[in-house]
Symmetry: C2
Subunit: 204 residues, 2 copies
């Protein structure tokens, strides 16, 4: 009965090859230029074959994004293992890490958090246990810690977390969409937004 296993292995290999080729196309030429036909050409199978392994294009790209966002989540959880003078330092670290990550993986970020429901399927990309949402969850937890220690007086954890998220998301998405904009100094802008918001939340 080793035959079935070999077949299954073979199938999994092809699946991985599809992902590999798609990943390469995706990071090198962006979402728009990844087409099922081009992937098919590169793996030397017909386009229809891809549909034996993935429901549709959205699902395929989703896996690539999950893969990449998993690295952000991992990094966030590594941060968790260090100790900090204050939960605010931890939060700050998480926020700037988020921005760095987004800028480093613009296409993955775009697909995950900047695409309309007619291009991607929100029910998969925004499900509570997908990596993008888990990344936000970690951020929320960091805010929760601050609230619990009374560092963000009069703040609700959810509200504060969402405001902070919007802030860093705004940075990332503008950096991605407007690389030619005459930014004052990205580092400084990022710092100003993060520190500004945190101080504002502390002031209450």
């Amino acid at each position: 009965m080793g035959v079935q296993e070999r077949k299954a292995r073979h199938k999994e290999e092809l699946r991985q090859e599809i992902l590999e080729v798609a990943r390469k196309l995706f990071v090198e030429e962006g979402f728009k230029n990844v087409s099922m036909r081009r992937i098919a050409e590169r793996i030397e199978y017909s386009p229809a074959t891809i549909y034996l392994h993935f429901k549709d294009k959205s699902e395929l790209i989703f896996e690539l994004c999950e893969e990449t966002f998993a690295r952000l989540v991992e990094r966030q959880e590594q941060l968790n293992e260090r100790t900090y003078d204050s939960p605010i330092d931890f939060l700050r670290e998480g926020l700037s890490g988020y921005v760095e990550f987004g800028v480093a993986h613009p296409d993955h970020y775009r697909v995950t958090f900047m695409m309309a429901d007619d291009e991607i399927d929100p029910s998969t990309y925004q499900s509570p246990d997908c990596m993008g949402m888990r990344a936000f969850g970690n951020l929320r937890a960091a805010v929760e810690a601050c609230v619990q220690q009374g560092l963000f007086p009069k703040q609700n954890a959810d509200t504060a977390a969402q405001a902070l998220w919007a802030g860093v998301h705004g940075l990332v998405s503008l950096y991605i969409v407007m690389p030619e904009f005459p930014w004052a100094d990205r580092q400084k802008v990022t710092e100003t937004l993060i520190s500004g918001l945190i101080e504002g939340l502390q002031a209450g």
Copy 2:
């Protein structure tokens, strides 16, 4: 020579009819579902005719966005005519107006500030005198006033304006892309971000 004028008028009428039909399709069915062929069908001309009036689809949609963003700019400039106790009140008004506007015109906002360069042409959408950029310019001016009056100590106007812009842009774009997200309370989140940031900038 009234003939040429009549012809020119007729041409302008057709141009306006194209825009009108496109606008209707655009707000009712979103960017993705506005196709040159569907516009052509509705104006009862062939698709090729549209290209006698617009360079390409991007330019056509751009005009619609300009039109709409012009209303934001206008509103901002009306704000300018009132007087405020503090330039901070004026700034706050501008920021919440920006968010309201974005949420009210999600498709126009998406095209103007959330699309990649392979879908739209940044050199037109991000030119310094397009309405989107003028809207930011007004915001920047409001920040400048705060800086000049020493209300944002140790802050550079550009850096602060860009941070604030990123903040409100983040709100708008997340609201647009994730309408199903369990927002705490959009009003409160918006308030938290705007007030938080402003207080942070005041604290310096």
